[in-house]
């Protein structure tokens, strides 16, 4: 029963989405009014100011018409209804998973009556239909939030802009709803239900993996919001400061959400695998990375647009393309173009609708971009040596990185279509192709915060960057003398990380102490710097720490593989692991062989570690769970394998110095983003709370 209600709610979402697309669009509204009421249309000659939709730039007349047609309060009605319907549909699907309703193939394919409740809920997001539904739900949430935002900042945005943006969002909700219904309808039933489900993919039975999906789809929905605003801006030929201000929170929200999904993904592969790596350049990872890279580029050139009203076309291009690569990534991972994912292996997959919709939506968007971008002009120019040009260069380089990743992802596929030979593109390709772009990117990244807007002088920059340059050179010298046989690549990595870190800190330092404009107390100076500067500095420092950790752990990694017997002790870095043996335990829906290790550091006991091999009988699949100790100077990563012929247990130990820096760096970048969102919310709350000031 609930499933049918959910199905109906999803259908209604499509209908209301179309309704929103039509009702909010001034163009459509006029056309439909003319059709519906011939008297009125004949009374008002076509082309009269009130009904003129031929002249798109004439926003004043249409705006006046629009305000009369729809009262502001009723603006919330449709988006609120759509969100409610989305919650109903998602609730119906979750209910089916919670009560294990195996008449729904979507449930019986990825769930089982013995799957724990939390993972039954998580399983609802993994199959095609569930993921699409989650995306549509996230989109309807973003839709309502944008309605509230545009309504409360009506002074900022012209009415037309708000209507066009909401119209595009309504259309996107309807399109993705239809794609869900055509490709992978989650609410279809079978007449004969299986006795039990086939069980969740054990790889997905993990709390972090469950959390990844909502972050991913919220990030994509945020990108859809940016996309809608960009199209609205293009329709009005108004990609300007106001547009940039409206878009600001959504670029950061999407960036944080996608970044969280990437961090979760990286940590999961780190703790699942025996070889201690955290990034493998596979399709799922790349399709997360692509929109995040472009969102980062957008974040930067949006700031330029807001400050100087330049880079209009480039910002609009990124606003469209960021969603395009996100959508394309969903298509790549959801289709079976590559080796089928374990999760989808049991169901025939159809993602044709997703691809066709992708082509239609973005063909329209890029066409609109082409037709309107030339008529906008690009504001005042800027000097070659200025913060604008540094940030522009940065976003171009980030886009190049994204292009390389995209090519690496689809090249094997296209080549296979042409020649029939399957090939794989792995880390060596990415390293070779990305290093010439990423190294200059990092080198330039340090300059941008220290540069002035509009115009700057080379000698001034030299003075400001002096300290950072000296400190990072000292770092490189120290490391290369201390570890004489080091290959250049990681050395450059560490040097650049030091360069970015010291540049960020010295810029912060200079602004806190030396700046003549700022007052006497440091705290007051910190306040004057503003949340944007602080969040940028946090994120830049985070990236520097991440790179330093990644480079260092790849250089000084120690790997020990031994066949261990109970009582044996294994040396790795400053640590000593004592193997205590393996015991058989029962988990909630799995059996596990859990090994016990006692970890000593300089012969003092630190902790106990319990790597496992789990066996999930429903799917007949084994998974390995490493156990990790995050120490001060590095991670100790231990995993167990099978018993070998002599009766010993294969134990793989990795000592990864500075690995916690990688996780800390990622966290700091995300904190930087959250800081910016939070302060904005708080400031806004303060402003509305005290209307007098």
């Amino acid at each position: 029963m609930f499933a049918e209600l959910g199905h109906f709610a999803l259908l209604l979402m499509v209908v209301t989405g179309i309704g929103q697309a039509i009702l909010f669009s001034p163009l459509w509204l006029h056309a439909s009014l003319r059709m519906l009421s011939p008297q009125r249309a004949s009374a008002t000659p076509v082309g009269s100011p009130a009904f003129s939709d031929d002249d798109d730039s004439n926003s004043g007349s249409n705006g006046a018409f629009g305000q009369g047609a729809v009262k502001p309060a009723s603006l919330f009605l449709l988006p609120a209804v759509i969100l409610l319907l989305g919650l109903m549909a998602e609730g119906a699907l979750l209910n089916a998973f919670i009560v294990s309703d195996f008449t729904l193939p979507i449930v019986s394919n990825v769930s089982h009556s013995s799957t724990p409740l939390l993972y039954r809920i998580g399983a609802a997001f993994t199959p095609d239909g569930g993921a699409m539904l989650l995306w549509v739900l996230a989109l309807s949430l973003v839709n309502l939030l944008i309605t509230i935002q545009l309504r409360s900042s009506a002074a900022i945005c012209t009415d037309r802009f708000a209507r066009n943006a909401l119209s595009v969002l309504g259309a996107l909700i309807a399109i993705l709803g239809v794609v869900t219904l055509i490709d992978a309808d989650p609410f279809l039933r079978v007449t004969v239900a299986p006795l039990d489900g086939r069980g969740m993919n054990p790889q997905s039975q993990d709390l972090l993996k469950v959390l990844r999906e909502p972050f991913l789809y919220l990030g994509l929905a945020g990108l859809a919001g940016i996309f809608a605003m960009t199209l609205a801006g293009l329709l009005d030929r108004k990609i300007d400061r106001r547009f940039a201000e409206t878009m600001r929170s959504w670029t950061i929200i999407s960036w944080v959400c996608l970044g969280t999904a990437i961090a979760i993904n990286a940590y999961r592969s780190y703790s699942e695998q025996a070889w201690g790596g955290w990034w493998y350049w596979d399709t799922a990872e790349n399709s997360l990375l692509l929109p995040w890279l472009l969102a980062t580029a957008l974040l930067h050139c949006r700031a330029v647009l807001e400050k100087t009203e330049t880079l209009r076309a480039w910002t609009a291009f990124l606003g469209i393309t960021t969603l395009a690569v996100g959508w394309f990534g969903v298509y790549l991972t959801r289709s079976d173009l590559f080796a089928p994912l374990p999760e989808t292996q049991l169901l025939p997959i159809d993602s044709t609708g997703l691809l066709v919709a992708f082509c239609l939506v973005f063909a329209f968007a890029y066409y609109l971009f082409w037709r309107s971008v030339d008529q906008m002009g690009d504001g005042r120019g800027f000097d070659v040596i200025s913060r604008e040009s540094a940030m522009f260069l940065n976003s171009v380089m980030l886009s190049l990185v994204a292009a390389v990743v995209l090519i690496g992802t689809i090249y094997p596929l296209v080549l296979q279509w042409i020649t029939g030979d399957p090939i794989t593109v792995g880390a060596p390709f990415y390293v070779k192709a990305l290093i010439p772009i990423v190294l200059p990117l990092l080198f330039l990244m340090a300059f941008a915060p220290a540069l002035r807007w509009r115009q700057d002088e080379v000698w001034m920059i030299g003075r400001r960057m002096k300290l950072a340059a000296i400190l990072s050179l000292i770092t490189v010298l120290f490391v290369s003398i201390r570890f004489i046989d080091l290959s250049p690549a990681p050395l450059i990595g560490i040097g650049l990380a030091g360069w970015v870190l010291t540049a960020s800190l010295s810029d912060l330092w200079a602004r806190l102490w030396r700046h003549p404009e700022y007052g006497e107390s440091k705290y007051r100076n910190l306040q004057l710097l503003g949340p944007r500067y602080i969040s940028m500095t946090l994120s830049h420092i985070g990236l520097a720490i991440l790179i330093a950790g990644g480079s260092a752990s790849s250089i000084w990694e120690e790997q020990v593989v031994v066949s261990a017997r109970a009582g044996q002790s294994i040396q790795a870095g400053p640590y000593n692991l004592q193997y205590e043996g393996v015991s058989l335990l029962a988990g909630e829906n799995y059996a596990t062989r859990q090994a016990t290790f006692i970890l000593y550091r300089h012969s003092l006991p630190v902790t106990e570690l319990f790597p496992e091999i789990r066996y999930y009988p429903i799917r007949g699949v084994e998974t390995r769970e490493a156990d990790i100790w995050h120490g001060r100077d590095g991670d100790l990563h231990v995993s167990i394998g099978d018993r070998d012929d002599d009766g010993g247990r294969v134990v793989t130990v990795h000592y990864l110095p500075m690995m916690p820096w990688v996780w800390g760096g990622m966290l700091l970048m995300l904190i930087g983003g959250c800081f910016s969102i939070l302060t904005r919310v708080i400031l806004r709350f303060k402003k509305t709370g005290v209307p007098a000031s």
Binding site: V192, F317, Q345
Partner: protein, 178 residues
Amino acid sequence: MRFSIAVIPLVLFAALAGVFLLNIDKDASVVPSVLIDKPAPEFSLPPLPGRDKGLSRADLTTGEVSVLNVFASWCVPCRAEHPLIKRLSREAEVPVYGLNYKEKDPEDGVKWLAELGDPYAAVGMDLSGRTGIDFGVYGVPETFIIDGTGQIRYKHVGPVTVEVLEKVLLPKIAELKG
């Protein structure tokens, strides 16, 4: 319509979209199985009680296309698909063999076939489920199409529906028969 660089994104996008749209049918959207195009495993199963012919790999390598249907009396979907297995055996004009999977009591399979009708050319009884494991059975019912040389050419998991029968199984069998 004058040329401008703003058209480049549209052109690039169209090229990419075109490549993917043209290759949309090349998805391998059939349920993949590790056993597809592999020889069927070696097995020899006893007959149902009161019958004299069991089932072994030799039955699948007679040079004729055949179908192997895994069923059990305790399996509700098997009961639902049974009329369609009968139809399959009538219309496909190939021998349909039954693999009676993990019965509690050997008589159960006999009673089930007596009640619903017996479309099978021969039935083998897999009480331990050992042969089922070799065939990679993870949900009953399952239906395999095997060519004359004993190669598994297609596998359907779950109950056969009218749609699966008409759109997948019968055309596949006809194709293999040549």
